[in-house]
Symmetry: C2
Subunit: 187 residues, 2 copies
DNA sequence: TGCAGCATGTAATTTGTTACATGATTAA
DNA sequence: TTAATCATGTAACAAATTACATGCTGCA
């Protein structure tokens, strides 16, 4: 599924600007998809050109005119069809974190520790964000609820696993000074 | 981290051909990175050209000459440096599965069920593969062990989550016939 | 005084995927 | 006889990232 289809899907729940969609990619969608302005704006332009969405310009002062996009009936149809025609959707992970951890033996133990700490913090902030969104949303539909729950589950499992490993390393090994442990300077 | 660096890293544990590396991408690495021949072969050619690896051709009958790659000292140095210069490694998920599930309301319940079933099976086969690799490997180093354990943990958590959701849907709702449930035709 | 937020977009570059091209051996 | 395994590679294509370009408002 490309960004274009995803933008179209997002518009099924109401009008939005490119800027709005970006915020969604940073929110609920952030744990399973990424997209920047460089893909969102061209996607919306394409969708408008092919009649999937309409675009209403609203003049703003001191900013470029706001472009409000709304999905058309054709757009909704097309979106449903693209959902229907995919019974083998992929789920891919691309992790520099795991790749580096795989080669931990080539790294300074301090760097490894920093890496783990960094990842834990990232997981925690994502988890916080998901919680905030849940609190703000009422009457959540099963789809979004499933996806959010999935994210929370996986994130918690990852957090537990990394935490357990850190404790194990901290207590068993000698390559980390007991007094200095959990220092984790790098951010 | 690009495929080139990853190939270089893989070669730290011994000589290999492009074909060998592809198999590794299908094995231990499959749950956090993907790469096809189209990226591996050019990567190895680049590495050889820049002196990171050496290449020995061994003639074979009925096949193209086998090219055995070995990492050089310069290659090892370069690899260590690229590991050291990355204290904020990303961990990205790109999931068509979750994207589709987010929009479950636009899909036929049967398709949703098939989607879940399909994902469960994929998780199971990946888990089996990881188990097989573990059985075959003795004296595993901490890096690879951490990564494999991470994969198992996350995969199990995902499996449990999806299974629990299927049961919930199967028992509570009326949009699935009790007699036909868990049929999951699509593969 | 400076930064974050709002708001849009383009162009070059990077990166990886897909399809193509070849061809012997071996097990089912 | 059919498919899988071994074994290499290229060229066209698709997709997304990054850097660039602009500029007001409001808060600290």
């Amino acid at each position: 599924m490309d960004i274009k289809t995803l933008c179209l899907g997002m518009l099924t729940s109401g009008e939005a600007t490119g800027y709005d969609l970006k915020k969604r990619f940073e929110g609920t969608f952030s744990h399973f998809y990424t997209a920047g302005y460089g893909s969102i704006y061209p996607a919306l332009a394409d969708l408008a050109e092919s009649g999937m969405v309409t675009c209403t310009e609203v003049a703003e002062q001191g900013k470029p005119a706001k472009k409000i996009y709304r999905i058309t009936d054709m757009g909704t149809e097309s979106f449903k069809k693209s959902l229907g025609g995919n019974d083998c959707p992929c789920h891919k992970v691309k992790s520099e974190f795991l790749a580096m951890m795989y080669f931990a033996q080539f790294m300074d133990p301090k760097q490894v520790s920093g890496l783990l700490q960094h990842r834990l913090q990232h997981i925690e902030s994502t988890l916080d964000m998901l919680k905030t969104i849940t609190a703000e949303t009422s009457n959540e539909q099963t789809g979004p609820a499933f996806v959010r729950g999935f994210g929370e589950t996986i994130l918690k499992a990852a957090h537990d696993y990394i935490s357990a490993y850190k404790i194990e390393q901290g207590s068993t090994s000698d390559h980390q000074l007991p007094g200095t442990r959990q220092d984790a300077s790098g951010q």
